[in-house]
Symmetry: C2
Subunit: 332 residues, 2 copies
């Protein structure tokens, strides 16, 4: 692999001149510029980003670490975030923590050693001293969807509370009285928020969720299946269940199918997170949709802003939106 020195020799100039031509910094005569460009093309010289970044102390790279790459929420978010990064001249690299704190930690360490300019994090756990540490050290960080104890980095998220309130009203209006929930971990900010919103709304409307209608999962597919199985196999099953994320909804629907319980007729189901397939199911699934792409764009913009030295703006949460379809019963 050729170096800038090779290019300089091939063009008969100094390395400084080659650098000036390539980065458009400082004046270069037209004839020299052409010679250099020809030489660079000739020998196929590609600057070594390691050396450059070592010198300039910036890599033009953002790391995005998501908790679960199999969750379409994150791939959509990643795609939107990446668009912003590219438009601003940055490269984004994506890491997957698989909801495992150690994997997350490993990625963070690795990306930091590679000197990324900033980090977009969707923390796997709320108690994350490694995240607190890097934020305190001054690494530009923006959190997505989940906060971390003691960390003051900006948080990009969608507030689901109003939509969950509407959902509860919708369920009750359709005659459901025994509301159930398959919640995510209450240790996670988003898990807790959805849980509390559902419980509070059900109480407010006069049909509080009963303890035996509450199940907890870990936001993964399998836990959704197990939770639904538990709920429906008990003596007194709920008649409408709210599942707190898309991955668990997939599992929950699989469980219902294997149990022979019909969605909509035997039990109402609604999901936090929408999915293109929900419309294709029979009945189509009522869901709360997050503004996924906007979250991604907002997160990346906020991070780039911080990197460029902008203030630590507190971010307004976006809003999730209830999409009524037919899985809680017929509306008319």
């Amino acid at each position: 692999m050729s170096t800038i020195k090779d290019a300089a020799i091939a063009a008969g100039v100094s390395t400084a001149t080659v650098s000036r031509v390539l980065n458009n910094t400082g004046p270069v005569s037209e004839s020299v510029r052409e010679r250099v460009e020809r030489a660079v093309a000739e020998i196929g010289y590609r600057p070594n980003a390691l050396a450059r970044s070592l010198r300039t102390e910036s890599t033009g790279t953002i790391g995005l670490i998501v908790s679960n790459i199999l969750n379409p929420f994150f791939t959509e978010l990643a795609r939107a975030a990446e668009d912003v990064a590219i438009a601003e001249g940055f490269t984004m690299i994506l890491g997957n923590a698989d909801e495992i704190a150690e994997k997350e930690e490993r990625y963070i360490r690795e990306l930091l050693e590679k000197r990324v300019d900033g980090l977009l994090l969707n923390p796997a756990v709320a108690k994350a001293p490694h995240i607190k540490e890097i934020v305190d050290r001054g690494v530009p960080v923006v959190l997505i969807d989940r906060s971390v104890e003691g960390v003051t980095a900006p948080l990009v998220r969608a507030d689901g509370t109003p939509a969950i309130g509407e959902l509860v009203a919708h369920m009750v209006a359709l005659g459901h009285r025994k509301l159930g929930i398959i919640s995510g971990p209450r240790e996670l900010r988003n898990g807790l928020e959805r849980y509390e919103a559902f419980i509070a709304a059900s109480s407010a409307i006069g049909y509080p969720v009963q303890p035996q209608h509450i199940a907890f999962g870990d936001f993964e597919r399998e836990s959704g299946a197990a939770a639904m199985r538990r709920l429906m196999s008990a003596g007194d099953p709920p008649d409408a269940v709210f599942v707190a994320n898309g991955r668990m909804t997939l599992g929950a629907l699989e469980a219902l199918k294997s149990l022979g319980i019909r969605v909509g007729q035997d039990v109402g189901v609604a999901s936090y997170d929408d999915d293109p397939f929900f419309s294709l199911l029979d009945p189509a699934l009522t869901a709360i949709e997050q503004p996924t792409a906007e979250l991604g764009r907002l997160a990346m913009s906020a991070l780039l802003g911080r990197i460029r030295g902008g203030g630590a703006d507190e971010l307004e949460p976006l809003h999730s939106r209830l999409i009524i379809r037919r899985s809680c019963g017929e509306t008319e």
Copy 2:
């Protein structure tokens, strides 16, 4: 951010010794090792991977560029590939080309400048001089699912031909005579292969696909919808349609739904690529499943093998598998 020099001063030793402690290279007395470790922890020193890689000429990083991150096939594959990379002490970074050759090219250039040790590519197009160039220059590359003109890098893929043959037999056995296909681009290796397999099998069994029952898409959701709409709106619609990938199947099903055409009853549908939601549809969708995770593992293993100097082994294709459900009609 502290450097190895800071750590050396804090520990009262030379930078060489710090390096030796951290990398476990060369002998160090127990007392010094402790002192260094304490100092490193104390000042929170993290080695600068840029400097290290510049010196050692290796980054321990693999780039994986997929053509479309919204396709679950690739996220699953990525996850499996990443597992292998981590187990072997490498980091994987994921880029998304969005089926756009320029984006792909940009990513490749960028990753190469960052001096990744190797590249896993799912080329967006078959005519890709930029890929040929880097392979010729000796960059370790393994191709996934699609080959590139004139490039001799190993190719990891699943052969779908036998499964497609079985699918055609299955369709015909259920009484379908007017077989249709929504194919991917024939310019792409995988697109062409699935197309040819379906056409050949239908001819072999005595019910060759008619020209008006052939539509082409670009492996993206929208094109699947458009193609299905075209096929079904013509005067003489097919009575069973094979859709050549999962994303197009999603679009095709949406089109049928909006057209009010019932899957299974009015028209048979089968998909290349399986999806967890297919089992939940009514009727459940017959599909050809690729060994996605294995493809990912195999691709990463092959690449790491090359990087470590292994030969350019020609890789046997894996095999896709037909999963008969009920979307082409009832079997009994």
